[in-house]
Amino acid sequence: MSAVEAKSVPDRLEALEVTTTGWSAEARGHALARLRNAGLPSKRDEYWKYTDPTTLNADDAPTAALFNAGEKPLFDDVERLKIVFVDGVFDAEASDDLTLENVEIARLADTEGADIHWAKGLYGVLENNGQTPVKRPFAALNTAMATDGVLIRVTGPVAKPVSLIYRHASDTSDAVLHHVIRVDDGGSLTLTENGPAAARFNKVMEVDIADGAAFHHVRAQGRDHERRAVTHMFARLGKESTFRSFTLTANGVLTRNECVIELTGDDALASVSGAAVGDGVFHHDDTVFVTHDALNCESRQVFKKVLRNGAVGVFQGKILVKEGAQKTDGYQISQSLLLDEDSQFLAKPELEIYADDVACSHGSTSGAIDEDALFYLQSRGVPLQQAQDLLVLAFLSEALEEIDSEELSDALRHRLEDWLARRSS
């Protein structure tokens, strides 16, 4: 809260205004109306029962100290196109030239005056679709107020990953970025995101995947201990398309990642997965909503969390199978490994099915490390700490296996090994 007297939530929302006059202005106006209508969430809201949004709602971002792990930047060895944001502000010098075959990349802030039809048809549209049946006020806030982001249109196979890098330079930064991605029929893109981004980060990504197209997303959310993030991914899948999204979260005082997926074309595949490791003051919430609205689609949710020293993990995952979405194959697993008795895992798995010929399974577990496996490893000469780390990585590996690229999953595996090693030293 700022030094001046705190305003009530409705007053604060009334005070917001859309300042741009470009192509997104109309969508932003609608989003602001949605936000005013919904209000900001509080812990009293059912959807925020396990995660307190107070600091995400506050006028100003709580400060977050910068953290330097003193190691090579993630994905450094991966050949990719880099787009860098520092505290949510585009850094042209640190970024690569945005030209790449089979893809058009533009900055949201650059294109306000232009007339980008494809983006206009998506900006705030998928977000709006995702507001029913559950309100997502932070996403509406983002659509209305985003200061920048990227617009990516993929027209064919893209040879190398496009990489969004989020640096954090100010301990009070408050960043709001909104990305829109459209993958045309026959196109495929791998998009990576990594870095803490800001003291407080609100990000929305809307992804429209046409028939036969593929979108792979791999993200690592920076290790600044005090950073906060609320992120939304809204994805719409056409016929025979593929969507894969994986997130690694290590550290962060508060993270809420929502992923809203609509399977609208037959024979599509959606996978959303994550590995989160927390030690101490760490609250991580994965909230997923998958809607099956077509025939013979497969969806997978694979979430693993390793928690210790009072860290808290949350999973809210839903599979909604609409009437007529026959032959749906829905899978959902959320598991946590609690390394001590102070840590907590809260899970709310849900299935809602209106078709009669579907296979859906869900499971949620939390438990301690397997003592028998630990002794087995020790009896072969593996020191206790190393044996524990090996079992932690093994536990997380089912989620890492959802990543379609060995190069990227290896990079994340190494990052996890470093994280574990840092804790045991």
């Binding site: 397997d370 496996a373 002794f375 020790q378 093994a394 590996s397």
Partner: protein, 251 residues
Amino acid sequence: MLDIKGLEVSLEEEEKQILKGVDLAIQPGEVHAIMGPNGSGKSTLSYVLSGKDGYEVTGGSATLNGDDILVMEPEERAAAGLFLAFQYPVEIPGVGNMTFLRTAVNAQRKSRGEEELSAGEFLKIIRAKAKTLEIDADMLKRPVNVGFSGGEKKRNEILQMAMLEPKMCILDETDSGLDVDAMKLVSHGVNALRDEGRSFLVITHYQRLLDHIKPDVVHIMANGRIIKSGGPELALEVENNGYADLLAEVA
């Protein structure tokens, strides 16, 4: 090699004494067998020697080449040369068999101040050893013991033993759950490792394993003590007459 004197062990969780003064001395190169009825304390002895939690040593001692192993962590005992082939090998999903073995081999080398093996060197050695135990590349790649048959699990134990080259090998009912062919294969693997500097303690219910792994000394364990020791003929006696006569003899 292994010297056990008056070893007394209770369960940590409840007031129950399992070992009531076990004496056993195994010289380098010797193969000893322990037979005994269910509940006599055979498996407990193997667990206590390898350092499993849940047991409390209330008396006596156990040394490996003069070093007190009872004060060591399980991994230190392994590095000192002790190996337990488990009766029920543990499944570890998510850890590849090869990764597991390489981690173990290199951890032991490191603790002994030896150079770690490179991936290439390791691969060469393990391929040769796996072949003699009829362990294929697929079994090396799969997660440790996950989806392995009973026989595959036991062969995998022997492969670990072959890779780690321990000095003192304890085989806890390695023959349980094995068919005749698998038992031959496992025994062959064990026999290939026999040499002057390596000792074995073979725990079994049945004499038939001892047809394949020929012991120098056979001990009969009952009610937490070794009640009789002798040559291989003792195992045959048990096979023919059961334990009743021996137990009566002592009582």
